[in-house]
Symmetry: D2
Subunit: 420 residues, 4 copies
């Protein structure tokens, strides 16, 4: 089996390698094709991967190129982890909105919109190659914003794609830790969008959690969302809900920070890549742990295992909802529990959605539809309506000014908006 990694210059790549090595008995990978548009990063990463694999005793053939089609051809899984514009663009997504009085964040709010506008055209090119060259392959995507990317790819191509995020696993891990249970004894319903999701109806060994137990699980959120609010809601929100439920606090904190998260990551990545480039380094550098994103590899490997081995497993994935939730079009992508097998990813019906937050999810889903429309059409008007529809923006006058600033700042990566 061959695996392609698109955007292999990402600092995450060694985590995937490590995961593949640990799962080698179930996933007989023979060839890994690393692909990146940046030859320098690619070379560093290929070198490190060879050394790291050797240290792990993981025998696999390494290919490396800047040619996307070569990487895709023959691959059973195409892992996509691209970042159009790199961390420099992310920093703009974080900082420009703050000047207009809106939260600046990689995936939430106006920053997420612009990340989508840059990423979707690139992901569509990849998906069209998969569709043409290798229609049986699965795209395993963790390019953010993964929900929007998955919706655009599903809408425009017949490529098979799973939009991954580790967020769906956290409530299980937190509950297991807090209650001293095995993770597989914890179940819940789950509803929402990527980074706007809610775990509810939690059970352990089939028994509903008590209010006290829920509070203990909620404590694992570390205050990202107020503990009292979690009690009132009776569910475990994604920590990203802090940007909605504590929007004022989140904004003022962000305005008060010296470095944005993107800037911190830029510093960290320098340290990490220096280590990767060291020809004697054959272990994950310590700084990688601070980089974040843990759990992605577990989700991606679980998914590939379930598909490759036809090993029916429930996992939380971003997919077109196809009737799993009431009141939305079938093609709308939601982050949902799914049954994953060789024949596909089947979202599970969520018969009841949480009473206090479904309107918020609907509002953000409406924004997402408009955002995908804008990414595909390059229409300024649609981008403006997307900002207007976003619950964290909503104001037309401010949205107009923000849109212009953002379009100019990201101009190099938004050709669809600047065609003559």
């Amino acid at each position: 089996m061959k695996i392609a990694i698109i955007g292999a210059g990402s600092s995450y790549t060694p985590e995937i390698l490590e995961g593949l090595a640990s799962l080698r008995e179930r996933l007989p990978v023979r060839q890994i094709h690393l692909m990146d548009l940046d030859p320098a990063r690619l070379e560093v990463m290929t070198g490190f991967c060879r050394r790291f694999a050797a240290r792990l005793g993981f025998e696999v053939e390494w290919l490396s190129s800047t040619d996307r089609r070569a990487a895709i051809e023959g691959a059973r899984f195409v892992l996509t982890q691209i970042r159009v514009g790199g961390n420099a663009a992310r920093v703009l997504d974080e900082k420009i909105p703050l000047r207009h009085g809106f939260i600046g964040q990689e995936t939430t709010g106006p920053g997420g919109l612009f990340k989508a506008l840059r990423t979707i055209p690139a992901m569509l090119e990849i998906a069209r190659d998969v569709e043409a060259l290798n229609p049986e392959a699965w795209i395993v995507n963790y390019s953010n914003p993964t929900g929007l990317v998955t919706e655009a790819v599903s809408r425009c191509t017949r490529a098979r794609i799973a939009g991954l995020c580790s967020g769906g696993l956290f409530p299980r891990w937190w509950a297991a830790e807090a209650l001293g249970a095995a993770p597989e004894q914890v179940h819940y319903d789950y509803f929402g969008l990527n980074h706007l999701s809610f775990a509810y109806h939690l059970t352990v060994n089939g028994r509903p959690l008590t209010a006290d137990e829920l509070a203990r699980v909620a404590a694992r959120l570390g205050g990202a969302v107020d503990a009292g609010l979690v009690q009132k809601l009776g569910l475990i929100p994604s920590p990203y809900l802090q940007y909605y439920f504590h929007r004022r606090r989140a904004l003022s904190r962000a305005q008060a920070r010296e470095l944005s998260r993107g800037e911190e990551v830029q510093r960290l990545e320098k340290v990490i890549f220096t280590a990767y480039a060291d020809p004697h380094c054959d272990e994950k550098p310590g700084a990688l742990a601070k980089r974040g994103g843990g759990g992605y590899s577990e989700v991606a490997l679980g998914l590939m295992d379930a598909i490759y081995n036809n090993a029916e497993r429930t996992m939380i994935v971003n997919v077109p909802q196809r009737g799993a939730v009431e009141g939305f079009p079938p093609e709308a992508v939601f982050e949902l529990p799914c049954l994953v097998r060789a024949d596909g990813i089947h979202p599970l019906r969520q018969a009841e959605v949480p009473r206090a937050v479904w309107g918020l999810v609907a509002a953000v889903k409406n924004y997402e539809q408009l955002a995908v429309d804008a990414a595909l059409s390059g229409s300024r008007d649609t981008a403006l309506l997307a900002l207007l529809a976003h619950p964290l923006v909503g104001d037309y006058d401010a949205a107009q000014a923000l849109l212009e600033d953002m379009l100019q700042a990201h101009r190099a990566y938004l050709p669809q908006f600047f065609a003559s």
Copy 2:
């Protein structure tokens, strides 16, 4: 035929009287029973109504009492126009939210929530009397917030209720004026909630409006919503959308005003009631025109005519949607075009809803459900979740402080929240 007017001390009452007089050939009213909890206002109003009716040559028997059940008994239509806490409470609804950085408005935002919390219990008492004493009667409600009131009454009683607002007629009037057409030649689809509604797919003589014609209609909004935005949306929003689409401007304007609208109304009403009380006055005072609310009487009379005469007519009314719009529970009240006849009010299917705003409507509908829950239960937690769900609030920390202030300020009219 008997008509009961509950809250007859309202300054609007003479407009209803005028409407009934003008329609006397189709609606043979023999008795009008005025009811109000305030005997002083009631006496003034009864006196004026007798004189005004005499001047109009409208022969009808006048009854007047503070006994609600007496008024309801035998009435074919029960008109409800109550204001719990009077304009003094309205002024608090307008002013307290401003201090917390939120818009203060009679029906939109936190002010609307508290108006609902005060009004719903009183309206339920009325509806339960109708249900018990006079189940065939129709409650013709224009107590605000009319959507929330109608949802609560429909959910808890079997009384027949129509939630009225003149807002649904404005796009027709505006289009007729702007295009030089007869109003009945203008049609449109219509979707939304009271004071959060959208007219779209406008036609005149069956022909869709051009972009230019739409702009001419939009100009009638008088800038409440930006003309460029109206073009991009391709629909005519309710002017109340200014509180959403121009939330920053609306907030700063409100903070800059010397008098709130409620305070202006208090002043106007003094002038109006002085006139009503004058035993020589038998005409509507000039100040009444500044009071606002025109069109209510036209809508109420059209509805009573259609029901009484079984004269199948389409009108925009707040009713449980029963499948007229996709993706919401059947009992959710929406403001929708309806077929009105003697056998009831039948909402018309709106097969497509406007792509750019359905998420906003969903978010506000979610708030409304929680607001009704809170009004019925007296639960502070639910009231807090309602504020959190409201797109114009959304922030938990600020909502907590605001809730406490509002509950204390309105304590006298919120017994359900202060039961021992």
Copy 3:
């Protein structure tokens, strides 16, 4: 205004003329273009129409041709009343199924399937001409089976089409007669397919009918459906339900008849056309009353009036249901109460469907979908599955034999099944 009549050689044409004459003040028709593939019938009909119009004092220009496109061009309404294969084919539809132990009927059961297979391709040609030459025109169809024809045309073209039948009016007329009320005081919900429809929730002056009153209305069915059954169902079925509810009796009666209805019609038409051909005849022949189909003209004229004059009216029409009934795809054509205006035909939401018969309607709708598929594709397999899905056939072994007989018998009019 120009009106085109396609299939103008039909004996019904004078009824339409009479209707147009009587409505001339509301519908200013200046030109009527008669079109038929049969020049002989066309000539006879044109001659008679001129004489009849003269007698009625109806001044209008008469055009006549076998060129469909000429007729369609410039017409505001295109009336279609074609019968592919003529009454000879109808007689086969009636007689062949009887030999296989199935009911033989013009629109119900296997006969209706073959009428659809013959008619749909011809109607699509007409609709494509309308789409290309005259997209604003309305096709006013009463070619049977009107539901299937309308579904095929709506699915494959953007031509505007209304599928008419007088059946929706009968419950109103029966109730008005039985209860001594004005027809416009009678209302009901209505659900089903053409010739498989149910009026329920009947009211007169807004008041629900008593069981006794319902029985009096039901008596007008003349025993087509058993009176006791009507009571138990609590609704007024179309008389065509006799073929379902009394399928054994209907079959044995049909098997015992000497002449099929089609054969009777053939005899009648000879008499009628002899009269039409008489150059002195300028009045409707007496035999026409026995021909059936009364009410069609009333429905067609009401529809044209509502559209032409933008005179918002509720009528029962076959249209894509677009969410008016739960649980069926939006493009499925149902016979439903609709709001008819210049901007289109809007089916009214039927929030509750009759509990005892929805499954029968679903089964027949499923058959209809397959029948349309078969008509479009010319697939024998699909035609067989359509017969299998039909509640009056259902048996695979018998369906195979029947299909072969019917295909051979109608071979000349089913080119799509016999392409090399």
Copy 4:
């Protein structure tokens, strides 16, 4: 863990015992409480079970009583396998309809209706005991008609119930055998009602079956449904579909049989019970294999294992569909793939249903709703409407006569229809 078996006098009981013995490591059963209304059968069965368990080396405590409440108390699972009226009533269900020209069958058609009318009241008594005494227990039902029983119990009680049938497993077994694959490598979508179900979208190792492979699977149906029809449908129907798709053949065959299946079973059971009663017999008698019903035990044990061990497994079960299929009320019971875990049985969304048969399923579901209504109300009218709605009856005149015959024949077991 305690298990209760209600209707333990059934000849199937030893199969359950055998299953429990083989699964003893995963299901630590300590006590089995056999309950039956017939003390003689109960005594025989208890004796045999003790001997058979001893032979299997299965150590468990045996309780035996005619007291239902004693059996239910403390049980983790309550297995129900009752047959009200015994095989004598079954024979009537098979024979009376034949005289009226309808198929006579245990679960399909009029026979199934009367089995439901007899069984539902008895099952409700059991379910109400479970609800009151032991609300955490699961009722594992294989009393037929299992879909109707499950719908009645779910509608009227809060007892947890799974309606089992082995039918859902057959397509998997057939495909595995036909294709030489492991059963767990075969997956499919599945839609329908008990004994009216369809497996489609079959895959093996995630790959869709070819037409040729499907034909090889279909061959396992043994001609119950014609192989050519299976090809055209592109799915694997339940063998019970023979009563629909080959209704004429099924009827004439049944009319030609000397003994009905129920009469054969009566003979077999004599042989089987003689063996059970033999104090030296400690093995399943050979005749049991001819009794049928194999697979039930596998399904029941798989379900109990998944629930007890919280071992997330997909199984086909009859449950309220709760949005898993479009267009039916959430409480309607369907036979569907479900995710089974300790926290409940979650039906999986079936996003597409088979195009050629959904109408048949809808028609039978409509019958089932009316049948449950009739069983609960004892209304003759509703029972008549149920027969009328059934696609295999449909004729009102014949249904009336049939109903009277059946009611009289089963009078002793239908008290709800004969209350004074």
